[in-house]
Symmetry: C4
Subunit: 264 residues, 4 copies
């Protein structure tokens, strides 16, 4: 618990760099196995037991990873504060699917190479993240609710439909979770829903601002009076200003050379 050096964590970063790809692949495998378990097997069947064992083994790997990172970290409190999801997953084993958030990180790397502009990247990221989180949430809520007596989410199709009504904040209420696990999944989904709404709005607003700025600049370029008030001068004005100054300086250079000569 040494709080001496707060920032550089070379050993931690080195470990994370080395294990990043492996853990992402394991997470993808975890998602696949988890989906198989939830969708294809019934609790208690031999196949279910085999998959469950495999998932616990993968789980142990993730726990070991967090333990090693905690041990490597110099500032351990900061590590715990910076990785709340890791801690949450350790404390609540039934929230295993939270571990899949790592996949979202992997996706963000993929989209980074795909597109150039921020808005395109955010949109691609949003679509992939929402799809992945929605699928995982549907798995989680379906697993939690399917065998509960008065549940309304009893098929995987219902679970997907419920995810849709929740993440868009429509919330018909024809399907809703009744177990604590299901409601925890719902909490995560609703918070994600608010973030999605906010990001969509922000993306549109930013596009909007850009369009208005662009059209205003074009109006300025054609010497039309700007109908929407002043705003920032466009680069043409800038170039003009700087060019004027440079011409001015070269004049002065000539001037300096000239007046000494006539008298000489």
């Amino acid at each position: 618990m040494t709080r001496a050096a707060p920032r550089p964590e070379p050993r931690l970063r080195a470990w994370e760099a080395r294990t990043d790809v492996g853990l992402t692949v394991l997470s993808a495998g975890f998602l696949l196995l988890y989906a198989c378990e939830v969708l294809l097997t019934r609790p208690g069947s031999p196949a279910w037991r085999a998959l469950e064992t495999l998932l616990w083994v993968l789980w142990a790997v993730f726990v070991a990873d967090v333990a090693i990172r905690l041990w490597l970290a110099r500032d351990r409190w900061r590590f715990l504060l910076d990785n709340p999801l890791d801690v949450l997953v350790l404390l609540a084993p039934f929230l295993r699917f939270l571990r899949l958030v790592r996949l979202v990180g992997a996706v963000s790397v993929l989209t980074r190479t795909l597109r150039d502009d921020l808005r395109g990247r955010v949109s691609a990221y949003l679509v992939v993240t929402v799809s992945l989180l929605g699928f995982v949430a549907a798995l989680g809520v379906y697993e939690a609710e399917r065998d509960v007596p008065d549940a309304t989410i009893t098929t995987f199709a219902d679970a997907l439909w419920w995810v849709l009504t929740t993440i868009t904040t429509v919330g018909y209420g024809d399907r809703y979770p009744v177990t604590t696990e299901g409601r925890l999944v719902a909490a995560g989904l609703m918070i994600a829903g608010i973030a999605v709404l906010g990001t969509v709005t922000a993306t549109i607003a930013s596009w909007f601002t850009e369009q208005i700025q662009r059209s205003r600049t074009e109006a300025a370029r054609h010497d039309e009076p700007d109908p929407a008030g002043p705003g920032t001068p466009d680069p043409a004005t800038w170039a003009e200003l700087l060019a004027e100054l440079r011409r001015l300086r070269s004049r002065l250079d000539e001037l300096e050379a000239a007046p000494g000569q006539p008298p000489g």
Copy 2:
């Protein structure tokens, strides 16, 4: 599957330019016939069969158009990626009404000629698009749900009411789709609802920003101290700066002419 030239698609563009008006008219006809079929006939009646046949013929025309465009495209993968709706409609014939999205495109051309400012155009576009999509979604969900035993959307008025509660993300839950087709319609509508919310917010935010900028500029013009911090200098300041520079240069010109004379 030649991936040689990614950008220019002269043959594809030429075809699209030639068929654009015709396909838009056909889409409008499709919407009209589809509305008649859903609202005026019962499945199985002779009138229903006639309209259904006509719709399938129009459908075949649309499929042929997509096929021809795919064949004309040099970069076929890119064509499929750029036209996801076309592909979706080909794969899922019961989502025929998606084809009507083309009409929205046509509307966007109309609104472009109507108004000058971006915000007005976006508002007009929003109203028309939402009305059209809402009407088509109501038709689609009504067709899917009306004859299902435990459906809650059993009249067209119910369908319109449901569309309203969904696209505004209110979601009372007194009406909701229970069939897969109906839920797919709902998914599209909810996504549209989020986009609508975002666009409305962005429009208001942009209006807001403009008002604040404008009042700040006016305050600056009247030499009042700006209460809300600095901001951009207004065009008057710009003009002053440039005029100062030009006066400076003309001075130098005179100066250059003058000092040669006194000694002369």
Copy 3:
């Protein structure tokens, strides 16, 4: 239907200026009488009949006003396009309460004199408008629903509660309108709800942007490096630039005066 002069409507404007205060007072009276009728009397009672008659008389005054304005307008199509609510109210007498939108306009005048800054004005306007519209919508939906067999909104308290769940787009669905009139009120309320959400977000976003700009300017003033990238130069920089140019010009003035003298 002369479409010659599209803009100036001197006669129409004069009429509107003269009748504005009177019609606003009549609208307020209309709201009061309408609230009394809905909340204090039962349909069919003598008091109800008296109030109903009074409301129809006021209604006739409003219709006369619209008719006169339409007759005074030079460009009548434009008048109809610019005043869609007036037309709607004429066509659908049971939507009388829409007439009360005029009161909102009156409120906007009040708030204009109250406060100085745009954000404060918008907030005050929002609170008053939402309260007024919510109250009127509760009256409208209560009048429409209270005597319908399978209605869920049967008391005025229920109506107010329903207005709240609708305008915030929460939409529990424990109360919802079942009549066409009630659903039309709901449609207006939902659209208002989206506008409210958008305006609240835009207000917060604008406050946000201002705070960030202000703190950045202060950072620049204290010569600290700007952590968040460039941004606009602050007025101090501007003053510096202009002062520099003026000093430069006065130098040139001296220079111009000087070189002539030494040789002299």
Copy 4:
């Protein structure tokens, strides 16, 4: 009721500065006792009576504080207008938990010392405020609803779940308040929900704008053409402009010194 001096309230400010910490501690104690009363005791039991007495004593302290502040204030109407929550709490004793809003204020001080950037501070503030308000609202609605015959919120877990569905504006409608007290709590929560949505969106939008501005500046620095139109010149351009002007002036200084010499 002297309306002479509207602004300075030295006595009021002095009192508030002196009692601030004490009242915040008392508010925290109030929340703790209130939570104990609602969650651990049944109405009518001896423990409940003891806690209820304690809460009323604390309540009296709060009332005394408001009374003293009202008495100290020079402009008493303004005081009432500026402190609507205080007035509301005095008039409606059953809304005692509103008093806890003071705790939110205390939290805002905590977060202010925690972080440097506005966005981080707003996020921290949002998380703490929403958690605190959500917890208090769950206590309030649970107390109001738990013993009502046809209530749907009958356990504290239900109350927390209801708070979540309400503040995110999802609103399934599986749980909803039926008492007036519960609905008043809901009203506060919904308004908070809209503010939360707006703040999240504004935070994301501001992050977005900054990212785009930053990447544009970097593009400008590398002399690449700006793909998204002009925008504001970056500080480098500014520095260049000012440097140019200063070099120009020093040239003129030399020039002024020089022409006097050759003739000398």
